[in-house]
Symmetry: C2
Amino acid sequence: MYNLLLQSIEKKVPITQAAKIEVQNAFTLKKLRKRDYLLRDGDICNEMYFVKNGCMILYTLDDGGNEHVTQFAVEGWWVGDMYSYLSGLPSNMFLEALEPAEVLCIKREDREMLLTTVPILERYFRILLENNFVAIHRRVANLISKGAEDKYLDFVKLYPQFALRVPQKYIASYLGITPETLSRIRVQSAER
Amino acid sequence: MYNLLLQSIEKKVPITQAAKIEVQNAFTLKKLRKRDYLLRDGDICNEMYFVKNGCMILYTLDDGGNEHVTQFAVEGWWVGDMYSYLSGLPSNMFLEALEPAEVLCIKREDREMLLTTVPILERYFRILLENNFVAIHRRVANLISKGAEDKYLDFVKLYPQFALRVPQKYIASYLGITPETLSRIRVQSAER
DNA sequence: CATCCGGCTTGATCTAAATCAATTGCATTT
DNA sequence: AAATGCAATTGATTTAGATCAAGCCGGATG
């Protein structure tokens, strides 16, 4: 049950057997069906989630009711509204399962506690966040500098798995373009 | 000389006198004049920089020679090309002083060393990166969901200091719009 | 003091992508 | 197998913002 999480940790830092037990005790499992929500606009995000399997999206809704996907999360990824999680203030996001999913949940206080009892995890999260910083920075660079087609091509190159797994409209949203535009881009790219 | 850095650390984690010495020994000071570079396309980013004073921008150049600002950094901020810094691979970015500036530099190996000798800094960087994650995530949400005017208004609300301090063209670039568009937005907003 | 240059503004035009709208194709449910 | 409901496609039109081009202003430089 905790295999994937412990692997994720061990890939980055050494961890003792005793610490593994501590880790396991800090998490609970949630099983989700397609379209279940872990978080809705207005909720406070009191937990962060480690995806064991399935696929989640984190998104906002604008005034016109359009979804804007800020994050995907599949097996081995962390997800949640970090803003709300850290501040304790209400989120303006939705966290939804695109597929049946299982996630490991850790509450704010439990994580804080765990970080003091197993301090090597500070290093784990630090490394995780650094890698994440690189990825999100690349995304920003693409968003401010590239046109629709180039953004899509970079996305496919970076996450070939997603391009197949996730409905196109979510990818379009993630790239900041419309589903219609993405559809047209795909036929044009294929023609060449 | 190390005041601002030590304050930045102490705001987030407790640190002993001995550890402060260790920190100071790990950094060197660089003084920059306006338009000096700390990093150019093709360089490997072997250091990260903590800004003591002045203002830096991190940007890419596209095929058309247009700058795309991915980051600002003023007093108390960290900056550098994290991708190149972590991987040791060449950067495709420029890091330039917009004003005369002083930065504290820490080499890759020295930071790794420091993190093992002063492990509380793992926590410092972890917290820093979490806060940063929230900010950059907000930026992404704005980039994929908002029009030019709303992006600008959010920027001014979040960083009122910058709006005055930095030439508009860099702000435009940071927002993913042209200087012309930003100029027009500003007069329109003022009219109302 | 003059001039030079970079940054900002303003206007005219163009274009990539959004929007609006209809149709089709799948997959899930009944 | 019919029916329902999304997702994707395709076409027509609109629009936000880019691009191109000139002029202008203010601070740095000889």
